[in-house]
Structure formats: structure tokens, C-alpha cells
């Protein structure tokens, strides 16, 4: 009985972080800050949701289910490795393109 609760809590947490990331992507003022919301919010929420699903598999711990849980964790590890890399590659591309950084002072002068 404890296992579904753990996995539900983990998944709910992941959804919360997904919401944070989505709101951040919509609200943050420039490309660089949006990148923060996209890169981090997604990695962590993905990780917690997948962890929750892996835990849910362990409800009935036969060898097949344990292997499936390991597979899900493998995906989580895979995304933990690739996500920062693609975040870095994208932000570097933006930096090379010369996208301007948002500054608070500029904004105050304008408004």
C-alpha cells in the first residue's frame, strides 16, 4: 500500500516542476533565462516522474517487473546525460548568434 503513495507523491512533484518550467518559459524575459526554465525544470520533473513510475513497477516484484523498473531508470539516466548537453549546445548557439541579454536597467529606462 505504501508503494502507490510514494509513486503518486513523486509524480505529483514532477508535475509541479513541469508547471514551473512551463510558466517560466512563458514569463521569463529573454532567451537565456527561458533556457534556465526549460533545461532544469524539465530534467528534474522528468526524473521524478520516471522514478515514480519505476517505483510503481516494484509493487509486484517479479524479475520481469524489476527489469522494467531498471529500464525506466536507464531512460532517466539517459535524459540526465543528454539534457544538460543539449541545453549547453543551444545556449552556446544563442550566444554565438549574439542574442542580447535582458537587463533590468534597460527596462526601467524604457518604462
Amino acid at each position: 500500500m505504501i508503494i502507490p503513495i510514494i509513486s503518486a507523491v513523486l509524480i505529483a512533484l514532477g508535475l509541479l516542476f513541469f508547471i514551473g518550467g512551463a510558466v517560466g518559459i512563458l514569463r521569463f524575459p529573454d532567451f537565456y533565462t527561458r533556457m534556465h526554465a526549460a533545461g532544469k525544470g524539465d530534467t528534474m520533473s522528468m526524473f521524478t516522474i520516471l522514478l515514480g513510475l519505476a517505483v510503481y513497477q516494484l509493487q509486484d516484484p517479479t524479475p520481469a517487473h524489476i527489469l522494467v523498473a531498471l529500464k525506466i531508470l536507464l531512460i532517466a539516466l539517459f535524459i540526465m546525460m543528454t539534457s544538460p548537453t543539449s541545453t549547453h549546445a543551444l545556449i552556446k548557439a544563442g550566444f554565438m548568434e549574439g542574442i542580447k541579454m535582458w537587463r533590468r536597467k534597460d527596462r526601467k529606462e524604457k518604462s
Partner: protein
């Protein structure tokens, strides 16, 4: 003009939605597709005739072997066409490049390169797993070939095309692509030599140490490997031609 296009798309979408109400339910046993006697035969007899648990793979590589053979040939032809159009040998050819400004020289990026180095063997073992488990899970030659080709493309992205070419030279990709088709068609011809129809695998039990059912099972695997060869080679060759403007010097 944009509004007109939008209206057209919206209208088509609504029509399709309206039409979808007439479809049979998902998995309906009385729908025409399920009540046709051939599908009943596939559903009940596949496991007895080929020992393959995954019906789709059995239909794809055994019952409809011709179809899949020529699908592989289509991919092969597409690759050859891309090479024929884009590839430029040497400097004597003076057709101006479509891309006017040259790319800035590429600096190696430690982070991307390290990640790719860590990932490539894992991607490759995953690709081989997908190819080998076409019997049990969705997968097979086409999917596995694409994933295997993706590992070469990753290397070409992270370093440059040269590094990937050193690993798998251009000539060798073409030989691999031809090999794939040859393996597939060769099995068909072998069946003919043994006195049965083209691509009728069960006759192979005369040369394999198994019974006819398992002969079909194993030939499906061999056929998938052939398809995987072709798809891998053609994926990589199309990528390297497109990304380097046919010069094979440096990619994206």
C-alpha cells in the same frame, strides 16, 4: 492567402473528424479488417507456423516478404539518388555552391564531445537489441537501422564528418548498403535453389539444423539484419551528403 489556407485546413480537419465517426471501434472484432478470413488466419496460425510471438513482424518479414524487400530497395534507391544528385568529386567540378557564405570553422566542444563519447556504444547496443528483438517487441530492421545510423550521425555532429568517415569510410557504407539488399534477396534465391518459391523460408530447414517452423523464425531474423545494414548505411550516407554539400569534407 494565409487565412484562405487556414480555412481550408480547418474544413478538411472537420471533415476528417466527421468521417471518423463512421469508423469501427478500436479493436472491434466485427470490423471488416478483423472479420476478413486472412486476418483470422494470421491471428490464429502465426504462432504455429513461424513461432514468432509478434504477429506484425511475421506478416512483415514472412507473409509479405516481397513488400518488405522492395521497401528496402526503395530506401536503397533513395540513397543512391541523393548521392547521384549531391555528391561532387574533386575540385574540377565548378557548379557554384547553394550555400554562399561558408560556415565558421568548428571548434571542438568538450561537453558535447564527452557526452557523445559516453553515449555511442550504448546507442549501438540498443540498436542491435531493437534489431534482434523484432520477434518479441515492436522493432526490427528499419527501426534498429535508423538508431544505428544515428550513432554515426552523432559522431559526425560532435566532431566533424572526417572523424565519422575515418570510422566508416564512404566506400564501405555503399558496400554495406548493397550487402543488405544482397542478404535479403540472396535468402529468397536460396529458397528457389532448394526447390521452393522465392522467399519461402521453410524450405531452408534442409540446410539449417532445425525444423521448418524454426527455419522461418531464424530467416526472419536474418532478413531483418539485411534491412538494418541497408538502412544504417543509407542513413549515414544521406546525412553526410546533405550536411557537407556533397563534398564530404566537413559536416554541420
Amino acid at each position: 492567402m494565409k487565412a484562405l489556407g487556414f480555412i481550408a485546413v480547418l474544413g478538411t480537419g472537420l471533415l476528417l473528424l466527421a468521417a471518423s465517426r463512421d469508423f469501427p471501434n478500436w479493436g472491434d472484432p466485427d470490423s471488416p479488417a478483423s472479420s476478413y478470413r486472412l486476418s483470422r488466419h494470421f491471428i490464429t496460425e502465426t504462432i504455429n507456423e513461424t513461432a514468432v510471438p509478434n504477429m506484425v513482424t511475421a506478416v512483415l518479414a514472412d507473409y509479405r516478404g516481397y513488400d518488405t524487400l522492395f521497401e528496402a530497395v526503395v530506401i536503397f534507391t533513395a540513397g543512391i539518388a541523393v548521392i547521384g544528385i549531391l555528391r561532387r568529386y574533386g575540385s574540377r567540378n565548378s557548379i557554384p555552391s547553394a550555400r554562399e557564405t561558408p560556415l565558421t570553422p568548428k571548434k571542438p566542444d568538450l561537453i558535447v564531445e564527452s557526452t557523445v563519447r559516453l553515449l555511442i556504444p550504448i546507442i549501438q547496443i540498443f540498436a542491435l537489441y531493437v534489431i534482434a528483438h523484432g520477434h518479441h517487441s515492436p522493432g526490427g530492421g528499419f527501426q534498429g537501422g535508423v538508431i544505428f545510423g544515428a550513432s554515426f550521425i552523432l559522431l559526425a555532429l560532435a566532431r566533424d564528418l572526417k572523424a565519422a568517415q575515418n570510422w566508416v569510410a564512404e566506400k564501405r557504407t555503399l558496400i554495406l548498403a548493397c550487402c543488405g539488399i544482397l542478404i535479403y534477396a540472396g535468402i529468397g534465391v536460396l529458397c528457389q535453389f532448394l526447390g521452393d518459391n522465392f522467399l519461402d523460408y521453410q524450405i531452408l530447414h534442409r540446410i539449417l539444423p532445425t525444423d521448418p517452423v524454426m527455419a522461418r523464425y531464424h530467416s526472419i531474423l536474418v532478413v531483418e539484419i539485411g534491412v538494418a545494414f541497408t538502412v544504417t548505411a543509407i542513413m549515414f550516407s544521406i546525412y553526410s551528403n546533405l550536411s557537407s554539400n556533397g563534398k564530404m569534407k566537413e559536416g554541420i
